[in-house]
């Protein structure tokens, strides 16, 4: 039993080498055996060819011998009569027999050959050889018979022909005496000659017939003796017997000749075929030898190719199982040495290399695990480092690491940028580049103490920007020590606090502005409240004073006194108006105003106002847009500012009024909260006066604050300006330095609509009297009485009520009685507008006139009373009231 062969992959290298060597030896042996086989094949083929050549030669000789023999025998037949039988026998018959015997011998040799042993096709038919041999034998036999027959026929002196000749001569002699017999004998002789020529039996039969005639007529021949007759009869009998014998011989010879012909017919094609085959032998032999060499060469080539392939396969096998794997292992080791920890060696076979590969793989795996752990740690650390570096680099504060001498080792982007540098520009530079000469000494002191203390507490340090500008930084630092505790480097963090500081300043400014605004608002409310009551009282004073003056008649002193009261009341009313303007409670009627035009119109008035010593200069922006403002307010603002400017100039000076189109962006407004973003028409009034201190500037908008001499100013100029500007959505900015003059810039929001004017056109009133019924509602009793008095004096029917509810009840009771409602705005329980609405529900066609000391939000928005609302500012004169009422009632 053949056990299962061990798996190649489990053989060790030594075993594999031995197996391959064994296969090579086997292959070599196979090669030798095959080569020997080829050699034997060629040798055998050559032997066959030699045999074939020999056979060919024999066949040719056999054919030639047969041919020679026949030719010789033919020559014998042809020449024996002329040259004599003996000579012909010697010259032709004997060589013919010799040749035919030789041919028979050759035929026998050929016949004994075993053609089947030949390795290639030899188309020599054994039957043909047999026929040839049999024909040769028969030829020999028949040729011998022929020679015998010819000898019998022509031999001398006992041959048939010779005997017949002798007998004929004797008969001729015996018949010489008898013409008749001689004639018959001559005829017989002629027929005999004819026979010899034609060998036709009928000719000989003619001879026999003549002899028969002679025999029959002989007894009648008188001139032939009896003895002679007997002798003649004897001769005739002998002659006929010899002739019969000759006929038989000739018949046999004819048969033999025919036999020769048949033999020729039989043998000729065989001879031809054999000769053809001989030629074919030669050709075939040549082809065979070529084929043999070709086969041998092909086999050798194939074997060589197979050997080569097998050797290549074996080499490939060795290469794949040993060399390639060693190279692979080498490559793998090389890759491993270059750091590829994922590389693995193919284990492949379970031999030494396989074990080595396994050990290598195990080792690499272990190293890979170790490295993997290490890498994880590195990654972790790197991530940490990256995190810190990222924090370091992207921090919103500067970080820098320097050596102990102050040379920058590393700075983050922030640190570089706040100094105006890139990181590359300042790396390896000394910290001194961030300090001016003045700062350097301080820096050195700080550095020294830093190194000594090992840390640097957060402190504000001033550095110098690349462009030379100093800026504050909040810095802290620590000394970095190595593992031995020796200082290695300094690490500092820095925060640009310039903006912070600026913001703090701005914040304090905003706070100041806020506080100022709050203060101004409080003051305004205070002023407003006072003004309301003042107006009511002034309305009463003024009204009754006018009534009294009208009633005074010719009493001049009384009228003068009343006139003073009226003037004082008007002045008081002006003051109250200014207070209302400051507190933005002034009722206004905004219109679209072209500042430049307005300024141009008021230039003469202003020049008169400032006097001759002060030069008024205009610098107006032609592109300035319109603003929406009550024109009186605009004039009031300009006048107040110019007056203040004039008052600031001691002696000769210049006041410059300029205009400019200004746009405030949102960014600007964040830090300048006093103004909203948008487009403005700026009017600046600049003087060359004494200017003012910051302290004064914080108070300039306060009512009744003035630096002017007692009696020169009311202290309400800038307050009024401030109130008007704020009421119109604008802003005031004051720039002043003591001794340098002051610039007050007033910003009015640009009005971009094309509509002009908001003022409702009131019909021109020519008459102030009327007969309509007017319902007056006023909680102030004196004022109610005044209004009733005035209106009644003008012819109206007046119904006065002190509270709205009673007024409403009255209307309910008397619907469609009243033509106009004249009502205070601010009243207890129900304001004026609510009252109007209630009454209008009962009497929709009723008209309403509000009266108030200031513009309440009840009927207005930021002081602006809507066009549909009829309003009259307290205090009012009789005239203004009458006109107002008349215009309302007349309006359609």
């Amino acid at each position: 039993m053949i056990k299962k062969l061990p798996n190649w992959h489990y053989l060790n290298i030594t075993s594999k080498s031995r197996a391959v060597f064994a296969l090579l030896v086997l292959l070599f042996a196979l090669f030798i055996i095959t080569a020997y086989g080829c050699f034997r094949f060629v040798k055998n083929t050559e032997n066959d060819i030699r045999i074939t050549n020999n056979l060919s030669q024999q066949i040719l000789e056999m054919n030639l011998g047969m041919e020679k023999s026949k030719n010789l025998l033919n020559n014998f037949f042809i020449h024996y009569q002329q040259m004599g039988l003996e000579q012909a026998h010697e010259d032709y018959a004997q060589p013919s027999i010799y040749q035919i015997s030789k041919t028979i011998s050759l035929s026998n040799e050929i016949k004994k050959r075993t053609f089947k042993d030949l390795r290639f096709s030899l188309n020599v038919n054994e039957t043909d050889i047999n026929i040839f041999l049999a024909s040769a034998k028969r030829f020999a036999e028949t040729s011998l018979q022929a020679v015998v027959l010819v000898t019998r026929r022509a031999a001398q002196p006992n041959g048939l022909l010779e005997q017949l000749k002798v007998h004929s001569e004797q008969l001729d002699t015996l018949f010489s005496s008898s013409p008749n017999m001689r004639e018959l004998n001559a005829q017989a002789h002629l027929f005999y000659k004819e026979y010899l020529l034609t060998l036709t039996r009928s000719s000989m039969q003619e001879v026999f017939n003549r002899h028969q005639a002679i025999t029959q007529q002989l007894p009648n021949q008188k001139n032939i003796s009896k003895d002679a007759q007997l002798h003649i009869l004897e001769l005739l009998q002998k002659w006929d017997a010899l002739a019969t014998n000759l006929l038989s011989v000739d018949l046999d010879l004819t048969s033999i000749k025919k036999d020769f012909q048949l033999q020729e017919q039989t043998v000729a094609p065989i001879s031809q075929a054999l000769i053809t085959e001989v030629h074919y032998f030669t050709e075939q032999a040549r082809e065979q030898i070529e084929k043999a060499y070709s086969i041998a060469l092909t086999i050798t080539a194939i074997l060589a190719a197979i050997t080569l392939i097998v050797m290549m396969k074996l080499a490939s096998l060795l290469h794949n199982t040993i060399t390639k794997r060693i190279l692979h292992l080498s490559d793998v080791a090389d890759q491993f040495s270059k750091g590829d920890l994922f590389v693995r060696a193919r284990v492949g076979d379970h031999d030494e290399l396989g074990k080595l590969s396994e050990i290598f793989n195990t080792t690499v795996f272990r190293i890979q695990e170790l490295v993997k752990n290490l890498e994880n740690q590195v990654i972790l650390r790197t991530q940490e480092f990256q995190t810190f570096k990222s924090i370091f680099d992207t921090a919103n504060y500067g970080s820098a690491i320097t050596d102990l001498k102050g040379n920058l080792l590393y700075v983050n982007d922030y640190y570089a940028k706040i100094h105006g540098y890139t990181q590359e520009e300042i790396n390896n530079k000394h910290l001194a580049i961030f300090h001016s000469e003045e700062q350097l000494a301080h820096f050195n002191d700080i550095t020294s103490s830093f190194l000594e203390d090992g840390r640097f507490e957060p402190s504000e340090i001033w550095h110098t920007h690349k462009d030379g500008i100093a800026f504050p930084m909040l810095m802290a630092g620590t000394v970095v020590y190595d593992q031995h505790g020796a200082p290695q480097s300094m690490a500092v963090t820095a925060l640009d606090i310039a903006e912070q500081k600026q913001a703090e300043i701005e914040k304090s400014q905003i706070e100041a502005q806020y506080y100022q605004a709050q203060k101004m608002e409080s003051v305004g409310r205070l002023a407003g409240g006072v003004a309301h009551d003042f107006n009511n009282m002034l309305s009463v004073i003024l009204g009754f004073a006018e009534i009294a003056r009208a009633s005074a008649g010719t009493n001049t002193s009384l009228q003068n006194g009343l006139t003073e009261i009226i003037n004082a009341a008007h002045k008081s009313a002006d003051l109250v108006r200014q207070l209302l303007a400051f507190s933005r409670k002034q009722a206004i009627t905004p219109q679209m105003v072209q500042c430049n035009t307005k300024l141009a119109e008021s230039r003469n008035m202003l020049e008169r106002l400032i006097g001759e010593d002060v030069h008024l200069h205009y610098d107006l922006d032609d592109t300035l847009g319109p603003v929406l403002i009550d024109p009186s307010q605009f004039d009031q603002v300009i006048t107040n500012l110019v007056v203040n400017a004039r008052d600031a100039i001691q002696g000769v000076g210049t006041i410059k009024i300029s205009t400019e189109h200004v746009t405030f962006a949102e960014d600007y407004c964040h830090t300048h909260t006093y103004i909203a973003p948008g487009k403005y028409s700026m009017v600046a009034v600049e003087d060359s006066g004494c200017g003012m201190s910051q302290e004064i500037m914080t108070q300039i908008f306060e009512p009744f604050f003035t630096t002017k001499e007692q009696g020169k100013g009311t202290g309400l100029g800038l307050s009024t300006v401030f109130g008007i500007v704020k009421q119109n959505g604008g802003a005031v900015n004051v720039y002043s330095e003591e001794g340098q003059g002051t610039i007050v810039k007033v910003y009015f929001p640009l009005h971009e609509t094309t509509k002009t004017g908001l003022t409702k056109d009131m019909p021109t009133t020519t008459t102030i009297q009327g007969t309509e019924t007017i319902l007056i509602v006023e909680d102030e009793t004196s004022l109610l009485r005044l209004c009733s008095t005035i209106l009644e004096s003008l012819g109206y029917t007046v119904v006065g009520e002190q509270n709205p509810q009673s007024a409403l009840d009255h209307v309910k009771q008397n619907p469609r009685k009243f033509d106009l409602l004249l009502t205070d705005v601010i009243m207890p329980d129900m304001n004026g507008n609510q009252l109007r609405e209630a009454i209008e529900e009962i009497q929709p066609q009723i008209k309403t006139l509000f009266m108030s000391g200031y513009t309440s939000e009840i009927i207005s928005y930021q002081g602006v009373v809507a066009k549909s609302v009829n309003f009259i500012q307290k205090p009012f004169s009789k005239q203004s009231l009458a006109e107002k009422i008349r215009s309302i009632l007349d309006a359609r």
């Binding site: 075993s15 031995r18 009928s202």
Partner: protein
């Protein structure tokens, strides 16, 4: 050590694989070797059995040769053209009805070592030379047509051209010459005779037998002439006969010489009415067609025609196969000869274990020589030591109407070796 084991195992495996096919071969019984004294012919399983056929297939005698071949074909047809399941291949050679033709044809046949036996010849002259060649080669030859006494035996003694291995189913015509002479002398009362042969052993045997018997009966053969085959000028011979004035002319010739002798004899006024007896070689349809009414009155000595059922069936088989009546009767003896030969070959054959046939040459001869009472279409056949297998039975026929052909002739028996027929003849006379 492992590689060496592998190497050895590899070689072992290769050797086993190589020897496997050999091991798969079954053991066969040993082949029988030839023990025949004359050797054996081995016929492989896919090879035919070859028979040499030597017949006269050209010239005027061709119908005789053709009848022989047809007789053989009919016999083979009845055997499905097979002997021992092997197809039969015939090598047919023309003898030309001459001695040299027979010899050369025989040479061609025996040259093939696979030739088992020879079927032939037509003419006895050819048989004489062919049988000599055949016998020397150890072959057996059997003929259905050769009837010359010289081929087997004359007067109970071995004939000059007898050859071992020659057999025939045609009757020895030594008796035909005797019957013709007896008929001429005793029945016709003629006392002088002339004979013509063509130097063929058949014709010569018949004329010699005639001469011997006629002379023995007291008659005189005043002329015993011979002509050569192929010679057309017969005037000198007939002139001699005319001058000799025999009472009867016996001319047992073949065609065309027999035709010429008849025609030229009848053309001579002096021989116009001479009684003429010829042999069986001219009992042939083409002869009647050739000579026509000139042949009226001519006597023919020939074999008695068999009247058995087998002969009738064979005749029908012949007509069916060849679509015409047979021109001669010798196809019957040819059929018998063929069957004898087939039987002998069958008996002489050993079928080997590998399917090959081993045919002993001497065994064939022995089989034929031992033939006794073989029921043939021509009668019971028993071969004697000289090779004669047929029982001689001859008739003298008188041709009255050539248009009736052979059938008509066969009905005009005027003399017979059979006592019954002879009595009948006498009654007719």
């Amino acid at each position: 050590m492992l590689p060496i084991k592998i190497f050895i195992r590899t070689l072992y495996t290769a050797t086993v694989l190589l020897l496997l096919p050999l091991g798969a071969c079954k053991s066969t019984p040993p082949l029988i070797k030839c023990s025949d004294l004359l050797g054996c012919i081995t016929i492989d399983t896919n090879q035919p059995i070859k028979l040499g056929v030597l017949q006269a297939l050209s010239g005027k005698v061709a119908p005789l040769g053709e009848a022989q071949v047809r007789g053989l074909q009919l016999a083979l047809d009845n055997k499905d053209n097979k002997i021992l399941s092997h197809p039969v291949e015939l090598q047919i050679e023309d003898t030309g009805c001459t001695r040299e033709g027979g010899a050369n044809a025989a040479l061609k046949v025996i040259a093939d070592p696979q030739t088992v036996a020879i079927f032939g010849t037509t003419c006895s002259e050819a048989a004489a030379s062919a049988s000599k060649v055949m016998s020397a080669a150890g072959i057996t030859m059997i003929s259905g047509n050769n009837s010359a006494p010289f081929l087997t035996s004359v007067a109970g003694e071995v004939a000059p051209h007898w050859q071992l291995g020659f057999f025939r189913t045609a009757a020895n015509e030594e008796n035909a010459g005797k019957l013709a002479a007896t008929f001429a002398y005793t029945e016709l009362g003629l006392r002088t005779a002339a004979t013509i042969n063509d130097n063929d052993i058949y014709t010569k045997g018949l004329t010699e037998s005639f001469n011997y018997t006629f002379t023995g009966l007291g008659g005189e053969v005043i002329l015993d002439l011979a002509i050569n085959k192929g010679e057309q000028i017969l005037t000198p011979t007939l002139t001699a006969i005319a001058k000799a004035q025999p009472e009867i002319l016996f001319f047992p010739l073949f065609q065309p010489e027999g035709n010429q002798v008849l025609l030229q004899t009848r053309a001579l006024p002096s021989l116009k009415n001479i009684p003429m007896i010829t042999g069986g070689a001219l009992i042939e349809k083409s002869f009647f067609e050739d000579v026509g009414n000139v042949a009226i009155g001519v006597y023919f000595v020939g074999q008695a025609y068999p009247h058995g059922l087998q002969a009738q069936q064979l005749l029908q088989q012949y007509i069916k196969k060849y679509k015409k009546d047979p021109g001669v009767d010798y196809y019957l003896s040819a059929y018998d000869a063929a069957n004898l030969l087939i039987r002998a070959i069958t008996e002489a054959t050993i079928v080997n274990s590998d399917g090959t046939l081993l045919i002993g040459r001497k065994a064939i001869r022995d089989s034929l020589y031992s033939t006794q009472n073989f029921e043939g279409v021509t009668g019971n056949l028993s071969c004697d030591k000289f090779g004669d297998c047929a029982t001689p039975s001859f008739n003298i026929f008188l041709l009255k109407n050539p248009q009736q052909g052979i059938t008509g002739l066969r009905q005009n028996i005027v003399y017979s070796t059979s006592p019954v027929l002879q009595n009948s003849f006498h009654q007719q006379l």
